[in-house]
């Protein structure tokens, strides 16, 4: 495997940072190298925020994503702000509420991440973990076992079952696509 660059974006407070941390940790559990960085404004909530992960079997020096292979956007604002520089061969995954008609990539998925979290799982705040399930089902970036382990490592005690369910529902969205 060469080097895969992932950009995860949404609104501040949606947990995109944790999403990136979990993905990077899963990659390390798989024995790969990973670097996770973030970029955010002064707001604690709202605004556009992004978390970036580079996964590689070699050492990673420059730590920022330059041309994402995988791009997730949960809000229109984040999509508009961070969609630039996508690789033509890249994969775009957006929430169904985001208009990505102009997306430059060949592979594009518009999926009900926020709705699944709210309705199928019953907690809007687990949308980040639903997104992880969907992203990994589409891209296969890390092993399912490592992803689940990394999720459980990083979520607050007492929420393991909820987050496991969120991950599952995220995977199922993808099954419905195929």
């Amino acid at each position: 495997m060469a080097c895969t660059e992932v950009r995860l974006s949404g609104s501040g407070g949606q947990g995109l940072l944790l999403c990136g941390i979990v993905l990077a940790e899963a990659a390390i559990l798989d024995g790969l190298n990973a670097v996770q960085t973030q970029s955010y404004g002064p707001e604690a909530r709202g605004g556009a925020s992004k978390s970036e992960v580079i996964i590689s079997d070699a050492k990673i020096f420059y730590p920022k994503v330059r041309k994402p292979d995988v791009f997730l956007a949960l809000t229109q604002e984040a999509y508009d702000k961070y969609v630039g520089n996508l690789k033509e061969s890249g994969i775009i995954i957006v929430d169904e509420t985001v208009n990505a008609d102009e997306a430059p990539c060949r592979e594009k998925y518009s999926v009900p991440i926020l709705r699944t979290a709210r309705e199928a799982v019953g907690k809007a705040m687990v949308a980040n973990i639903v997104a992880l399930g969907t992203i990994n089902a589409i891209t296969g970036l890390v092993s399912e076992a490592s992803l689940e382990k990394a999720v459980l490592n990083r979520v607050p005690p007492g929420t393991e079952e909820l987050n496991r369910r969120a991950l599952d529902e995220g995977r199922k969205i993808c099954q419905n696509l195929r």
Binding site: A24, I28, T37, Y40, P42, Y62, P63, R66
Partner: protein
Amino acid sequence: MNDKNVRLMQGNEACVEGAIAAGMRFFAGYPITPSTEIAEGSSEKLPQVGGKFVQMEDEIGSIAAVIGASLTGLKSMTATSGPGMSLKLENIGYAAIAEIPCVIVNVQRGGPSTGLPTSPAQGDIMQARWGTHGDHPTIALYPSSVSEIYQITIEAFNMAEKYRMPVILLMDEVIGHMRERIELPERSALQIIDRKKPSVGPEQYLPYQADADGGVPEMASFGDGYRFHVTGLVHDETGFPSNSSEVTARLINRLMKKIENNLDDILRYEEENTGDADTLLLAYGCTARSAKSAMDAAREEGMKVGLFRPITIWPFPEQKVRELAQRVKRIIVPEMNLGQYILEVQRVAGGSCTVEGVNRADGEIITPEDILDKIKGVF
């Protein structure tokens, strides 16, 4: 990650882990982005090892508390960013003249003033050297990866203890907030240095008596029965103030010689591909990561590019840079400011090669392409 010591860790978190491993038992601070996770982590970890964390009223109080705690014998640290660092400067000078071991972390963000709180910069390079007033020794260390933050935090404590002085640990938003793979070494494999305790009883103890030129006095802890005076004024061996020019010269020279006499011990750097290089990149912190990527790309295209990465940025690795300047045709100094460290490189190169900067002060990290363009002479 089958090995229990391999983890994904944030730079700021690695700083706390390193500090605890080095023996830090006191932290006082006032939270400020992008250094806050160091205060947060210290507040969680210190009570677990019998240490103390205090959130102070401001940055001035924080460094003052750190100096006080160090005088009681505890290894102490504070962490901040630009605006807080500016506030700490006066007391950093106090720690320098009173010879109080402590570690001050500055996770740099955009400045001046409150500047760009959430964006990276490397604008405090000269402040680290000359921020506090008067002639004073400075040790400033600047790691560039999460593993190195762990290791260099330990060395910052070791140097602070060994030379009885404040040591500045410079970081930047990128490496402070970045998470990457780290393999934590076994604690038993670490070399930990503690300050020298008095070899004589309280009656004979002179708190600022040093055996040789550049020597480091033995340090008693408050509470151990040794009574001594500590002041920011020039003082003699007893610790009491003096106006004598002879005493002043002896003290200031000794403080400076603690560093000058021990450069081999203090200077840390890394060099790669410098053997056949005609172009040398000289970079530190997060920018060194971009420089490394740029060097690799340039080498793939057949260009003879090398990298020199100072980890000890102060004192300046003068002899090494002079040697390199005489071997290469040009030195490129990328830094996230409008030209600070380059001034030292130019001074030391002394015209023996060209010295050019790649500079950004817009809150964005310098990319490998920015550096590659300079190597190729695109602009």
